[in-house]
């Protein structure tokens, strides 16, 4: 039982990260109808840019290597880069394609993902780096002593951070003027335009927020697994999450992320031995596929409200 709980909790904690990346997809998909395949590449770009800055900043500024100042400066610079990348994508790649069919936009984002990966590696180099967030990956003693369960403090920290981020985004959408406008645009572009909501601003904001989310996810994953090209694929785990949760649902992204995270770990541990292991990497896709057969709109996918 202890072991089961351990695996479950570990899975849920990593699921929070899937949820975070899925949220980036959902935001862009809702507001502009673009399925942004480049979201995974953006996670990679963000992590690499952050690490890159922590490496070069001490040389440029004479600040102490590994210090808090360098950390936050690199964070801010990476954040600015992500927002600029997001806004540039919207302006340069997607705006000229306005009114094109969704498949065209989707193809554009596939191209974009290669471009983004290429640019990131072109600037910062392609070798694998470590990323240090200053949070130790050790078991929490309290849980060890009292419940005999191993829970990594890093996982817990990451989950808390992602949770706070998801929560604040939800509040932002629900209660602010801009958040409301975002939801309005997601519902009906034309009507939003007719009351004077400037779509371009809204899209720029959404891409900027998606860039921010990608940065946080990239930092956490990068710190756990190292910053490397494979991050792009880890981030693509968001796809089964989306199928599970529905492409337009913020709660769906969260719950879907948790389910995928938990089930892939449980499957690895309990089913893996029978099939030779390594099922963690494909299990989510199978789960998503099965789910598609049963409930194609996803757990929380918004149904069209049809009433005339």
């Amino acid at each position: 039982m202890q072991f089961f709980l351990e695996v479950l909790i570990g899975g849920l904690l990593s699921g929070v990260l899937y949820a975070l990346v899925a949220l980036g997809f959902v935001l862009i998909f809702k507001a502009s109808g673009v399925f942004n395949f480049a979201q995974g590449a953006m996670v990679f770009f963000a992590a690499l840019t952050f690490v890159g800055f922590t490496e070069v900043l001490p040389g440029w500024t004479g600040l102490a290597e590994g210090g808090a100042v360098v950390f936050w400066l690199a964070f801010v610079l990476a954040l600015v880069s992500m927002v600029v990348l997001g806004i540039a994508t919207e302006k340069i790649v997607l705006r000229p394609l306005v009114n094109q069919p969704p498949i065209t936009l989707f193809m554009a984002t596939i191209g974009l993902s290669y471009l983004v990966e290429g640019i990131a590696q072109g600037i910062w180099g392609a070798n694998v780096r470590g990323l240090e967030l200053g949070i130790e990956d050790v078991p929490i003693e309290y849980m060890m002593e009292h419940h005999n369960i191993l829970i990594s403090s890093f996982d817990l920290f990451a989950a808390a951070l992602a949770g706070v981020l998801v929560g604040s985004l939800a509040l932002f959408f629900q209660y602010t003027k801009v958040g409301r406008a975002l939801r309005a645009v997601a519902d009906d572009h034309q009507a939003a335009l007719s009351i004077g909501i400037p779509l371009q601003h809204i899209w720029a904001i959404v891409w900027g927020v998606a860039g921010f989310v990608a940065l946080v996810a990239g930092l956490i994953w990068g710190a756990r697994n190292g910053v490397q090209f494979a991050l792009t694929f880890t981030a693509l785990k968001a796809l089964p999450v989306l199928i599970l949760g529905g492409f337009t649902s913020v709660p769906g992204a969260i719950v879907g992320g948790l389910i995928i995270g938990a089930s892939e770990k449980l499957a690895e541990v309990y089913v893996g031995p029978f099939v030779g292991g390594g099922i963690e990497s494909w299990f989510p896709y199978v789960l998503a596929l099965l789910f598609l057969l049963v409930r194609p709109e996803g757990l929380f996918g918004e149904r069209h409200i049809d009433r005339v």
Binding site: R180, R307, V308
Partner: protein
Amino acid sequence: MSTEATTAGVRADPYLSINNIEVIYDHVILVLKGVSMSVPKGGIVALLGANGAGKSTTLKSISNLLRAERGDVTKGSIEFKGARVDQMTPNDLVRRGVVQVMEGRHCFGHLTIEENLLTGAYTRRASGAEVRNSLDLVYNYFPRLKERRKSQAGYTSGGEQQMCAIGRAIMANPEMVLLDEPSMGLAPQIVEEIFEIVKDLNAKEQVSFLLAEQNTMVALRYADFGYILENGRIVMEGEASELADNEDVKEFYLGLSSEGRKSFREVKHYRRRKRWLS
């Protein structure tokens, strides 16, 4: 741009004026073939015509929602309060006080009625209290919306959605509302209710209305002036009461003649009026 000085009165005080515009969709589909009309300050002007006549296109060329549908004003000009507005974005226009209520209502289905109304104030740099006041004003005119304020707009009735769409436009604090087929698919008494409120808003809040309608007789009862559009051209215009009494209008729109529905082109009276066109 020269304005044809044909009908005096209305054109003497140009507030919103459309001068001989031509509209083309997708670079090839010519829809408006030289439309001129004007709306005086504080007026309610009806733009009438059958399906596909170009009413919505005319309204969208004013509010500039046309471009999002690959339409373009290729000739002529549109002026509001003396300034050309035909190259402005919808956002600019809403800020200047012109807002469109689209055909088919277009409420934000997943937002509540109150959230819908609040989005209407997006372009305003107003304090929370001012927005609150506007909200109260809208609820005052549309008490039904107040009752349904917490409901998702997608689940409200057609009449409530139409009210929501008009209320949302009013939240922008407009001088002029371009109202596209408010009567569409609604029961007669709801239509009357909505038109009464429009008339009220016009009288008490000094909002001018340009109203596109197929429901000719109702529209003419509430409007001061009317234009009749057919096939992308204005074929008749006049005081609303005159139009309502006009034999051709009656014949065409109320089917009072024995031969059934006709085109204006076949109606004799109209040929004599047509001289000022093109």
